[in-house]
Amino acid sequence: MSQEHDALHTRTLCELRQGLADGEFSATELTEALLARIAGAGEVLNAFITMTGEQALATAADADKAIANGDMKPLTGLPLVHKDLFCTRDVLTTCGSHILDAFVSPYDAAVVERLGAAGAVMLGKTNMDEFAMGSSTETSYFGAVKNPWDLSLSPGGSSGGSAAAVAARLVPAATGTDTGGSIRQPAALTGTTGIKPTYGRVSRYGMVAFASSLDQAGVITRSAEDAALLLGVMAGFDPRDSTSSEEPVPDYLAALSRPLKGLRIGIVREHFDEGLDADNEDLVRAAIAVLEQQGATTVEVSLPNLDLSVPTYYVVAPAECSSNMSRFDGVRFGHRADNPVDLMDLYCRTRSEGFGTEVKRRIMTGTYVLSAGYYDAYYLQAQKVRQLISQDFKAAFEQVDVIAGPTTPTPAFALGDKMDDPITMYLNDIYTIGANLAGLPGISVPCGLVGGLPVGLQLVGPHFAEETLLACAHQYQQLTDWHRIVPGDFA
């Protein structure tokens, strides 16, 4: 292999795009290089459920023809991977679950369609917490994903496979989904950049539903610039999704260089309490200081109902999921129990065999909070608290343009660490959940290392403020190198 090819896996998406345009290497060479890397160095991480090498090479060959014809689309020849929650036509789509472990989707998700239409090359489907329910990618039927920074640690979840693949430089970019933090938290724990757009910004068509009013598709990349490139392709109205927004899609790349001078940054009083690891806090504050040096100002704001966000989420999300999971019954697709004696047996055994513990737990929680006699006290009450939390953000955004703070309370934790008590695991999402409840966009960028492990800075903005978030993140990344640091084993 030539010198250039050795370096291919270290480049960002934007750099690779330039390289392809310059004819420095071909799309086929690029795809081959990454497939080899995944098969070699990447094996240990268990980041993938399905590889689509043959298909990828065919797409790359088409890309090379297009490039030769001067016919480049925004993502022509650029490799990426999809979280296995996105339906991919004629390709296994498992959602990390036994109940779909042989399910070949008959259609493409909107996200897959759009990225594909823009010329992207799909290398495979990444491992994830089962049906996106988890914060450590340990609930996957296909085994846990390992954090490239330390193989005994979790990469976070539910988009752990996507985050690990990008962090280990196996691929330059990966799609993910975020319902309570499932893009931002793994991004923070793996030293990558992860963005969850405003609810409704990206179509949910073909993204298997976990909690419909909270789920949103996004990306995990190495830089805000790469995220801007991909978001520009993914975002936009889709008539097949009733919750899809008709808000026009701006040019995110063009917005990256917006000056930070005058930007008002909110520091949330409630973020900085004893729940936040002291070292994390120091790095986050230092990151904010960098932004201040560029002319941003900080204002203390309050989100008084912050600590109710986790319990609110753990009523609303399970409720919606309990209903969304009912379609998995073995009748039309997916795992089916052998020789059922009657209908009840078909349903109960199919679902009990097919779903893992966490999924069953959330289905039951959801069933309980929606059931007669409990609906008002739990589900309805949670929707009201959700309103309060949204109002808190709205009030804060009257004083500030973005809220900056920690993405997670601690760096990556050990695999197996939090599996005994669900609540301990759930509390990991304390800083990220609010944005999902209020439908707000959020981004996490690397801002330092604690004990050699990455820490994330989170920026949250008002609805459709992706440009501000990306600009802020991009300029921070122009001034710092945290996002360039690669875990030792994967340099």
Binding site: F103, V104, P106, Y199, G200, S213, P239, S242, T243, S245, N305, L308, V310, P311, T312, Y314, V315, S322, V331, R332, F333, G334, R336, P340, V341, D342, L343, L346, Y347, C348, R349, R351, S352, F355, K360, R361, M364, T365, T367, Y368, V369, S371, Y378, Q381, A382, Q383, K384, V385, R386, Q387, L388, S390, D421, P422, I423, Y426, L437, A438, G439, H463
Partner: protein
């Protein structure tokens, strides 16, 4: 507020899930912890607050009444485990 075994059994039935006898205690324990945890919501000051069903304040878009889907039965039914004469099979249901 801890859940009883009977409550958990009822919930499992509603959700069409089976809990093995040796798992029951653990399931009851974990679910009870979750319910205890979310009980914090009871104290929240929600008088007069409108429940939020959707994060964005928009209304339902309507689509025109046109047929856009064609018959793809064979392709789609390739995913089903038990099909006969184009019908999905289930254990016989008595009405």
């Amino acid at each position: 507020m801890s859940l009883s075994k009977d409550q958990v059994k009822d919930i499992a039935t509603l959700a069409r899930l089976t809990i093995a006898a040796d798992e029951m205690d653990d399931v009851v324990d974990k679910l009870s912890r979750i319910v205890d945890f979310v009980d914090q919501l009871q104290a929240a000051p929600t008088d007069g607050v409108v429940p939020m069903a959707h994060p964005l304040n928009t209304c339902q878009r309507l689509r025109p009444d046109t047929v856009t889907e064609s018959n793809e039965r064979e392709r789609i039914q390739a995913n089903a485990s038990a099909v006969q004469d184009g019908l999905y099979l289930v254990p016989k249901v008595l009405d």
